[in-house]
Amino acid sequence: MSGKSTMLRTFRVIVMRDLTLAMRRRTDLLTTLFFFIIVVSLFPLGVGTEKAILRQIAPGIAWVAALLASMLALERLFAGDFQDGTLEQMLLAPQPLSVLVLAKVVAHWLLTGLPLVLIAPLVGLQYDLSAGSLGIMMLALLIGTPTLSLVGAIGAALTLGLRGGGVLLSLLVLPLYIPVLIYGAGAVSASVTSIADTQPYLMLLTGFMIFALVLAPWATAAALRISSE
């Protein structure tokens, strides 16, 4: 078998393995999702239920909640594999580590990022968003959350196995999420006035995703090697 096809096969195997493992522990998934729902639901109770205000703050709140939710889930990205020794096997595998890392990130996104995109209509309902804005929000989340998972993976690899890793992780990763937050929330805000205006925002988010896709797995692989020496 050629090298390329084994690589693809390994990629698929890792994704399927992570998905299967996660399906056996569904509570973990639901915790992240409900964290998002609860955070989003708390704001109207704190800020007040004036519809005009809610519509205005919806993009920012949805995105900050998405940032926090995806970050909370990051801690588990490599922790399980680190504890049971799978990670060591991965480091020794003939396939490039960055490909294996990418597979893990893809699985992680399918489990934590995609559910956020699918639950977004609930935010639209709570914050009285128009159908157009809601569509843009889902699209922006769909393009933006992979970047969060990719960049977050670097932080997760760096803080692997550390005491208080979760809080530290947020300190390292949240500042790097800022561009995604700005343009993700900006796209939804812009969609209120004109849907056509959102195009540059979405292009930028796509650009970030491609950039992260190229560099982040490599950096994560380097971080994993440093952390498990």
Binding site: V151, I154, L158, T159, L162, R163, G164, G165, L168, L171, L172, L174, P175, L176, I178, P179, I182, Y183, G186, A190, D197, P200, Y201, L204, F208, F211, L215, A219, A222, A223, I226, S227, E229
Partner: protein
């Protein structure tokens, strides 16, 4: 004749060298600070009318802002050298620069708040530059937090170096996104910094203060790196000997 630069990359040879250079940098920094402050306070009053006296805040604000950014670059530079050549001293330098960088970043924000209150009437504004400076502070704090959270020095050095590098790659994107939150109408929102537009006497005072802070940054980084070297090389024979002589 070529100088063997790698000779100084060993902590043992760098330790006394840093010790010898520290007072020099400190003196130069002190003298420049006196000259710069004299110039800023006494050679400019005819330019600054009574109402414009708050302008003097900039004599610390501008140098601190420059240093906050410059030191991050220096830190990343040493981190990258460390990752490539695997020299322990480079990581120690990076770790010694970070706290000074964070302090200068905080000073930039602090003096910026007082400047903002006098000239714009608000302590804090989400001006792109202030926001970027705040994010820079987060990056410094993240670097130091990661460094101190890892007990194994080798891993701490390399992990935080990688983090600094990732931060450095992200900084232009962060800066750009903060500057231009709406890509549909992206123009420079903030006042452009143009050194040439500034009155020559004020510019002189600024530049002298920048050099003063710069020399101070060298001095304090060398002082700190000596502590780091002592701490980490405590089992080396030369440190034991050195400690014995100090008695």
């Amino acid at each position: 004749m070529s100088i063997n630069w790698f000779k100084y990359s060993s902590p043992q040879t760098f330790y006394p060298l840093a010790g010898k250079m520290t007072p020099w940098f400190n003196w130069i920094a002190g003298i420049l600070a006196v000259v710069g402050l004299y110039w800023g306070f006494f050679e400019t009053p005819h330019i600054l009318s009574e109402q414009k006296q708050y302008y003097r805040i900039l004599f610390v604000h501008v140098p601190a802002a420059w240093m906050s950014m410059w030191l991050y670059l220096m830190m990343v530079g040493w981190a990258v050298v460390g990752l490539i050549f695997n020299t322990r001293l480079s990581f120690m330098m990076a770790a010694s620069i970070a706290p000074s960088g964070a302090i200068f970043t905080f000073l930039t924000l602090w003096t910026g708040a007082f400047w903002g209150q006098t000239s714009w009437g608000t302590w804090w504004d989400w001006d792109p530059r202030m926001t970027s400076e705040l994010i820079l502070l987060f990056l410094y704090v993240g670097y130091m937090a990661l460094q101190s959270a890892i007990d194994d020095t080798r891993r701490a050095d390399r992990a935080s170096a990688l983090l600094a590098l990732v931060g450095a790659i992200c900084i232009p994107i962060i800066y750009w996104s903060v500057n231009c939150p709406d890509p549909n109408e992206c123009t420079a929102l903030h006042q452009q910094s143009s050194m040439s537009a500034v009155e020559p006497n004020i510019r002189i005072a600024w530049l002298i203060m920048v050099f003063s802070f710069w020399m101070y940054a060298f001095a304090i980084a060398f002082m700190r790196v000596r502590n780091v070297i002592l701490e980490r090389e405590r089992n080396a024979a030369w440190v034991t000997e050195l400690v014995g002589r100090k008695k």
